[in-house]
């Protein structure tokens, strides 16, 4: 776990109206207090709103494709023609450079159809960008969820039960942690992507989105499980847990009532940062062609599609890249806000 000492971000500006509300909020529990603090952090709230906009936009992808763009982003449209300024223009335009052989996809039209132009197969980049965003966000979100379930279980079990269980889990986490993330993900992907994965009664198809989800979810487990384990260890030796043990309260109840609520803030602080990391990993794997498989789109695969068009039609790879930067930046800002609200002393940041 790379430890980074972080200074707190901008001090939120408080206006008189909000100060007046504060005493009311303070009488409630720690969650509402954190929420009140978060709400006053304008950067974080702005980032949150931006994220909601991005999620909604990508969820509306089918509507955009069918109602506004009238294009099918999953079928190649090499012979398609569209109407621009009353003229019918082919989507794949004859090349004007060199020998005049071959075709170049149409550039950004800034109209309803082919807003950002077409890719090498004559598909609408704008529509694919939205569909890709859906997949990228789905993968990152589901992988984050998976990662947290595994990490919470492993970290809590290792920290709470100790002994041989802790020893085994900690050593395995050490190894996973030292394994460079991309190399581990590449190994898993290349083995799984060519053939379906069969574990007992479950079969995951080769092109399924579940594969990148599982892979990305697994590789980051130690990054969350290790700090969780550390925190559980400190909690276990804290006075209120010792008191609970002394009172003869059953272990599972201590685990659920005393340990879990205290660990949950750590986990929540990690969520946006992990999600940002997962988006980066997904795009990298897809760019290496071991992430999302065609014809499905993700931001990473669209960057890959646009690589051969980089100098002629840069919009194809610039647009998804910008989408990644904006989303990840918003997640990082949101993460800072959540950390300041929930756990200001936390010095952990995942990489």
């Amino acid at each position: 776990m790379p430890l980074t000492v972080e200074t707190s971000t901008s001090i939120p500006l408080v206006d008189a109206h909000e100060i007046a509300l504060e005493p009311v909020a303070r009488q409630e529990g720690p969650w509402s207090r954190a929420w009140a603090k978060f709400r006053r952090d304008r950067t974080a709230v702005g980032a949150g709103v931006l994220l909601i906009v991005i999620v909604v936009a990508s969820l509306l992808a089918p509507l955009y494709a069918s109602q506004i763009a009238h294009t099918d982003p999953f079928r190649s449209g090499l012979s398609a023609r569209i109407l621009i300024n009353g003229k019918r223009v082919p989507v794949m335009q004859p090349s004007t450079q060199g020998l005049g052989l071959g075709v170049t996809p149409i550039g950004p039209t800034w109209g309803a159809r082919y807003l950002l132009g077409a890719d090498t197969q004559g598909r609408d980049v704008a529509a694919r960008l939205l569909y890709g965003g859906r997949n990228t966000l789905l993968i990152a979100g589901a992988a984050t969820f998976l990662c947290f379930v595994f990490a919470a279980i492993l970290g809590i079990v290792a920290g709470f039960f100790g002994g041989i269980v802790d020893l085994v889990i900690s050593r395995v986490l050490d190894i996973l942690w030292a394994f460079p993330v991309f190399l581990l993900a590449i190994s898993l992907s290349i083995v799984l992507i060519s053939q379906a994965l069969v574990i007992g009664p479950f079969t995951i198809g080769a092109g399924s989105l579940a594969l990148p989800i599982v892979i990305i979810g697994l590789v980051y487990v130690p990054y969350v499980a290790r700090p969780v384990r550390g925190q559980v260890l400190t909690l276990k030796n804290s006075e209120f847990v010792l008191a609970a043990i002394g009172l003869g309260i059953p272990r599972w109840r201590i685990l659920l009532k005393d340990i879990l609520p205290n660990v949950s803030t750590t986990l929540i602080v990690f969520i946006p940062l992990m999600m940002a990391l997962n988006i980066m990993t997904e795009s990298a794997l897809s760019f290496l062609s071991v992430g999302v498989q065609p014809p499905d789109a993700s931001w990473g695969t669209i960057i890959l599609d646009g690589e051969s068009l980089l100098y002629t039609r840069p919009a194809v790879s610039l647009a998804p890249g910008l989408a990644i930067v904006i989303t990840v930046l918003a997640l990082n800002l949101l993460g800072d806000g959540v950390r300041d609200a929930l756990d200001p002393r936390s010095k952990l940041r995942p990489r």
Binding site: T4, I175, L176, P180, L184, L197, F287, L288, L310, G321
Partner: protein, 323 residues
């Protein structure tokens, strides 16, 4: 101190063993498909698959298979590709390694120098424009996928603005060996270095700033100032020296993460024939022996680099050294 170092080296060996076992299990024991068919590549003939099976001893027990794999990777080094028939894999990896190393070491130099300069400026001019700018650079820097930044830099320097005075010096993509033309080598690598270093310059600047701010609350800084030393001397000679120590641990981790991460993709974007591009090409052809070799060699390198940094840390930090 010797004991601490020895302990760290032992831990390194354990982790290396663990990684090799894990990689072995992934490649040879994942449920669902025949490992021989996977290694033979796409559309391999039954004869090739049978040859792979005999070659890797795949009908023997797993521990023996593991031993065979490690022997072929590190002792006899005769692992061969089945996609490019008969191509020896290990020499390929070893040929590619220096290029990756040049890329990463250069990038590390840039981000350390950049980070230290930015951190010093931000701490010295606290709450100034530079302080706030470093914060912004840090956040944006860690939010940009390095390979995409590389593409953008390519677009600007190779195509759109290549004919202006700003980027006319940029050579075509590809790697030029250092020994044949050092100046050319530098020019081809400069932009890849920048695109990788951007990831961390802001972050390191921020970390150093935070460390410096913390150091300024220590007693020895107050003593130094009370002695009447100039502010610059206090900053460079007294505060910076202690603040750099946590830097080293962080640097070790990030350096490793870079070798096994963004550097791979940056090579692909800039057409540098390093480990990353080799992996990328093998991924396209499903050439598993090459991927197995690059994964194990690169991971071992990363683990050893991390251990080395920890040893250096023990050597230079008197607090750790004493205990």
């Amino acid at each position: 101190m010797a004991l601490t170092i020895l302990q760290r080296l032992f831990q390194m060996l354990f982790v290396m063993f663990g990684i090799s076992v894990l990689a072995f299990l992934i490649f040879f024991a994942t449920p669902g498909a025949d490992p021989a068919a996977r290694i033979a590549g796409r559309n391999a003939s039954p004869e090739t698959v049978a040859a792979v099976r005999a070659n890797f001893g795949l009908d023997r027990p797993l521990p023996i298979q593991y031993g065979l794999m490690m022997k072929r990777l590190f002792v006899t080094r005769d692992l061969t590709s089945f996609v490019n028939r008969g191509q020896r894999v290990i020499p390929q990896v070893l040929d590619a390694a220096p290029i990756t190393l040049c890329l990463v070491v250069g990038a590390a130099f840039f981000w350390l120098v950049g980070g230290v300069v930015l951190g010093l400026l931000a701490a010295a001019l606290r709450d100034s424009f530079i302080d706030k700018a470093s914060m912004a650079i840090a956040l944006v820097g860690v939010s940009i996928p390095a390979f995409w930044l590389g593409e953008v830099l390519n677009l600007v320097s190779q195509s759109r603005f290549h004919d202006t005075w700003l980027f006319a010096w940029v050579p075509a993509l590809g790697y030029k060996p250092f020994w044949s033309d050092p100046w050319m080598w530098f020019k081809t690598l400069l932009i890849p270095w920048i695109s990788l270093a951007t990831l961390y310059i802001g972050l390191y600047g921020r970390v150093l700033r935070a460390n410096l701010v913390e150091a300024y609350q220590e007693d020895f800084i107050r003593t130094a100032r009370a002695k009447g030393l100039s502010p610059g001397r206090v900053l460079i000679k007294h505060a910076l020296r202690t603040s750099l120590i946590p830097f080293i641990t962080l640097f070790g981790l990030d350096f490793g993460a870079l070798v096994g991460g963004q550097a791979l993709l940056t090579e692909v974007v800039f057409g540098l024939n390093g480990i990353g591009r080799l992996t990328y090409q093998s991924l396209q052809t499903l050439d598993l022996p090459v991927i197995l070799a690059t994964v194990i060699y690169a991971s071992f390198f990363v683990v050893m680099a991390n251990a080395l940094v920890d040893v250096v840390y023990v050597l230079i930090d008197p607090r750790v050294r004493g205990s």
